[in-house]
Symmetry: C2
Subunit: 215 residues, 2 copies
């Protein structure tokens, strides 16, 4: 058991080192030797968990969506907002998320593999929106697939713009603007006023439930 825990911790250290190297250098320029040096693990340990740079990149990409879990809320739309605000907040500090983002955005990893995080995230939104619809939270005309994909695309571009213009310092503000512009088109009016869409939302939530994630 202690050995299994050590393996999990080693795998995590490698993923975090890989995320930060992919974030800084991109896929093509990243080297396994830089990653293992930063992770502080042996070459044997690295290859045991990830037999190639490509496998390592895929693991970083796939970790992306699992990283963001918002706690249960009275409405599904609040959970949708919370997931976006938590992701915005964690992009400022989580090396795996940052690395996965650059791998998704830039060409380098094969295109069919860059789809993974986008589709997983869209499906996550679709699930929340489907439940929101069943609970009567949505206006009748909403096309769930369109709205689910719009949030993914819009967020992806806003984080890129925020990275270029402010090193992501204004990302949470930009995501608040996005929700404030889009939610009135999908939420029933009575619910709209109950949503907490503030730039501090992630910090408030993390203070309560996400402290174990560190950051």
């Amino acid at each position: 058991m202690a050995q299994q825990e050590r393996a999990i911790r080693t795998r995590r250290a490698i993923l975090e080192a890989a995320g930060s190297v992919f974030d800084e250098s991109g896929y093509d320029s990243a080297t396994l030797s830089t990653i293992l040096e930063r992770a502080g693990v042996t070459k044997g340990a690295l290859y045991f968990h990830f037999p190639s740079k490509e496998k390592l990149a895929l693991a970083v990409l796939n970790e992306h969506v699992d990283e963001v879990q918002a706690p249960s809320q009275p409405t599904k739309l609040q959970e949708l907002v919370d997931a976006g605000m938590i992701l915005a907040h964690r992009l400022s500090c989580d090396p795996i998320l940052r690395g996965g983002t650059r791998l998704t955005i830039e060409q380098g990893v094969a295109k069919h593999q860059r789809r993974g995080p986008l589709l997983a995230w869209r499906d996550h939104n679709l699930q929340l929106l489907t439940e929101a619809k069943e609970r009567g939270e949505l206006l009748p005309h909403v096309v769930l697939e369109d709205t689910a994909a719009l949030f993914v695309g819009a967020f992806t571009g806003l984080q890129l713009m925020s990275q270029i213009l402010s090193d992501r310092a204004d990302l949470e503000d930009r995501v608040v603007v996005m929700f404030n512009h889009i939610l009135p088109s999908i939420a029933v009016p009575a619910l709209l006023g109950t949503l907490d869409i503030s730039a501090d939302r992630a910090r408030d939530l993390m203070g309560k439930t996400l402290t174990t994630h560190g950051g």
Copy 2:
């Protein structure tokens, strides 16, 4: 005059070749020899117009916004929609726009230079929104700067997502979804119904006024 025309045509041929090479290979892997071969110009002509790869990349980046000019319309919000729809349409065929997009999205060109197209486009939106406000087209609570930047960020991400998932085949549909979700939050209701937000909008406009651009 004939000589000047030839110089303009040569410069254009170089920019288009550079755009397509930057689009395919990214900044770091693009070479001047590939570009001049594709442009069908001599090394002397290339260096006369652009003394370095960096200068060439900057010219492609700066051409970006000038490429999209929407014709005058009865409302400024329609012009804002039209500019977005034309940009979406032209991204499927214009090598300079495609190359400029990849240069903006990917790290490679210095960050302060990648800001140019984003800021120019935000300013273009801000100008249109300012005029829209003066004409009474906007709801009173709209914060012009926020909305202007939101359109740039959201569009940037949607085109990236569309490129990854469908080689931009569904981009115009995705941009329609974006406008349909955001415009109800900013336009006065009486105007909203007058806007033409359809995936064929760019083709309709280009049939009338943009045929000289080719594409």
